[in-house]
Amino acid sequence: MSGERIVDADVGVLGAGPGGMAAAKALAAAGLCVVVLDEGHRAGGQIFRQLPPGAPHAAIAEPPSHAHGHALIDGFGASKVELRSGASVWDAKPGRLWFEQDGASWLLRCKHIVLAPGAYDRCIPFPGWTLPGVLTAGALQVMVRGFGVVPGKRALVVGSGPLLLPTVTALASAGVEVVAALEASSRWRALRALPGVLGNGARLREALWYGRKLLTAGVKLQWGWTVFGVEGDGRVQRATIGKVDADGRPRRETARTIEVDVVGAGFGLVPSIEAGLLLGCASRLLPARGGHCLVVDAEQRTSVAGVYAVGEACGIGGAEVAMAEGELAAAAIVRLARGAPIAAGIARKAARERKAADALLRAFAPLPGLHELAQPETIVCRCEDVTLARAKAAAALHGGSHRAIKIGCRAGMGPCQARICGPSLQALACGRPELPMDLPVAQTPLKAVRSETILNAPEG
């Protein structure tokens, strides 16, 4: 019954964000048969998210770099790439990707795999963060830009890093009053990003565009501030904000309360590497790039033959990096398949974009002190309802490692499989630096799938 649910291709691409689209488009242009698997409704990924078909168009202002995204989406759409939307990859081995689509169980057989799975929002727990009305920066943008939904009237935007800016502009252009925009990094720390921005024309134009937008909206970015907690009767009604020290530790004496009904929290991103880990790819910890990252060589090859990784999975870098690395991975595969050499400009561009992104993101490397926002009774694992106090007790009794904490209180064992609480658990574990750094869990199913999907998986 499942025999016909097999797709064959030269290259299977996981993810239709900027990296996946760029790779797929270039591969198709070289005459290779490419299938892209993506969980979204349409191509674009999180950053270039398109409204679902038929949805009313929301007039959301977009920065200049999004022109690249639209051009890429158009080129991708016009190419011979087969895009399978709503496809969730749940098992993998080199040359094979198993996925669930429309409730059916499928297998993609291919010679090469390009991993472009993107990233997750980094969640920092603070008192009240599980109240309705608190959203990650990513989720807010999905609502506003992806579905045209206005989440509230008065917003507080908090976090750290470049993603705060699109969150503010998306809210402002949807008519939400942004009461405060708080960047936890200090102005002085942020200055370290300056060379990375000034040395890259596109990034400079981007920064200026955002600067103008904030000015128009009357929003002033407050450096060295963050949220200490939110309160409300069943939903967000108030937020306590204040200053943090250079490590992100709250300075409680500076606390003050503001009235808001929505909070967008964007504390950076965490690379999605679990598909790579399941395939056996080597990884390493690069805190400034968001955590554990897949290791790739100068041509985006992972440690496993036939498996390439691009964009955020190799470390957070943004859309421009992902696109350049996608093209480079495609060129490396085309060379293998067609004998065509890699144009020098492609590798140089990928290296240049990555270098610029690293320079920018160094200034916004995760601040360890922000984990002190959580109080003993604050939930850290929302799947299993584990409070900080319980997680700490588990660490004390079972051993201080990330895994010991999970075992001792079940944190990270629920439906999200530690995608949300992983950074918090790792931060708790950091008191014992001599302990082994635990990798994110990599086991099948990568995403929750129905039992029937596993049972009906085509063999091959």
Binding site: G399, A404, I407, G408, C409, Q443, P445, A448, R450, I454
Partner: protein, 392 residues
């Protein structure tokens, strides 16, 4: 100078934690008890198993062993709690007419020990568990079984131990690198952080117990790993409230293994075992296969496990599976655990080899070992489990 203790327990799984708890209760107040594990507490088999409390009525000895242990579990819940103890009872199910007659056989076994299990007709079964397939030929219901969350139970045992005796010292992430001995007497252990001297050392290393024995210059213990594939669903989807077991499990799990455990061509077997979880999830097992320390998923066996689970609880077909994994159970070659002294080396004790009943049997194991160490009469006859039976 080396640190000193009265008792060192090596291996912080459920058995090691139970040994620590009962030794803390029976050893003199103030005795120094050190628990060592190279990883987290409850980091190996106890974090990758099911959590069933199961009374096995095969014969009087087995019944006393398992039923006493299940009582000790209820006591731990009363005194400490915090490990999702749930006395669900167990439904023994069958779909093969040949297995239906086993209901009466098992019922009689419980009756032989003055205990009681009820045979349910299809209507009674449906009233008890509406989520089960409607074509089942009835079931046997036994009230005495239950479910616990083993990882958290380890924590509860250690908290109990520390309440009895504040000198209980739990040291995860502390590998034992050598066993210290003098002639035929244990002196203590060497760890990565230095030596610890003690009169008694208990080997609770499960599938690694043979390794630790060899470190002490002893012959290899008759314990081999037996792998189980498991799957767990998301929350709030469990179609069942009672622990389910296929009645063929009785034959399969406790009967003689038909395969040679030391060979590597075991195709593996399966009998359905499902447990409701406190968060509304459902834990699905249970397969058994000898294949060394290999912890990669056996997809064929996992499929069989999911398929059988779905046969009994059809709603599971649409349940989201969030995780699958493999655990290694320490299988003893004569299918009885090793609990007691290791006579060739005075001061060396063993508590290991419980295979799939380690969770059920850990409290009684801890009790028996603590009683033996302190020279007390044992709660039940401990002779069948003495490791010395393998010294010939």
């Amino acid at each position: 100078m080396a640190e000193t203790a009265d008792l060192i327990v090596v291996g912080g799984g459920i058995v090691g934690c139970a040994v620590v708890q009962h030794c803390a209760e029976l050893l003199p107040k103030g005795a120094r008890i050190v628990l060592l594990d190279r990883g987290p507490v409850a980091g190996a088999a106890s974090a990758s198993c099911m959590g069933h409390l199961m009374v096995t009525p095969d014969d009087a000895q087995e019944y006393a062993f398992s039923a006493t242990s299940v009582k000790l579990w209820a006591e731990l819940e009363e005194r400490e709690g915090g490990f999702d103890y749930n006395p669900t009872g167990a439904l023994y199910l069958a779909d093969d007419p040949a297995d239906v007659e086993l209901f009466a056989v098992l019922q009689q076994q419980f009756a032989d020990h003055g205990d009681r299990a009820e045979i349910l007709d299809p209507r009674q079964l449906r009233d008890r568990e509406p989520g089960l397939a409607h074509d089942l030929p009835g079931a046997l219901f036994y009230r005495g079984d239950g479910v616990v969350l083993p990882m958290m139970a380890c924590g509860a045992m250690l908290r109990q131990a520390q309440k009895h005796n504040p000198n209980v010292d739990v040291r995860p992430h502390t590998p034992v690198t050598g066993m210290l001995r003098q002639g035929d007497r244990m002196l203590g252990v060497q760890t990565a952080n230095g030596a610890i001297h003690a009169e008694h050392v208990v080997n609770c290393c499960g599938v690694w117990a043979p390794e630790l024995a060899e470190m002490a210059g002893q012959p290899r213990l008759p314990i081999v790993p037996r792998a189980g594939n498991l799957a767990i669903t998301g929350h709030h989807v469990t179609p069942i409230q009672t622990q389910l077991l296929e009645i063929s499990y009785i034959r399969f799990a406790h009967g003689a293994a038909k395969v040679d455990p030391t060979r590597t061509d075991d195709p593996g077997g399966h009998a359905m075992n499902m447990q409701p979880q406190s968060n509304g999830g459902c834990l699905i097992g249970s397969t058994r296969q000898f294949r060394g320390m290999d912890r990669t998923l056996n997809k064929a066996l996992l499929h069989r496990s999911l398929l059988r689970a779905q046969r009994y609880a059809p709603g599971l077909a649409h349940a989201p599976i969030v995780r699958t994994w493999v655990g290694l159970r320490p299988y003893s070659l004569d299918k009885r655990p090793l609990i007691g002294p290791w006579p060739p080396l005075r001061g060396l004790w063993i508590a290991a080899g419980h295979e799939g009943l380690g969770i059920t049997l850990s409290p009684i194991t801890g009790r028996l070992l603590a009683e033996q160490i302190t020279g007390r009469p044992t709660t039940i006859d401990a002779t069948p489990y003495l490791p010395a039976r393998f010294l010939r």
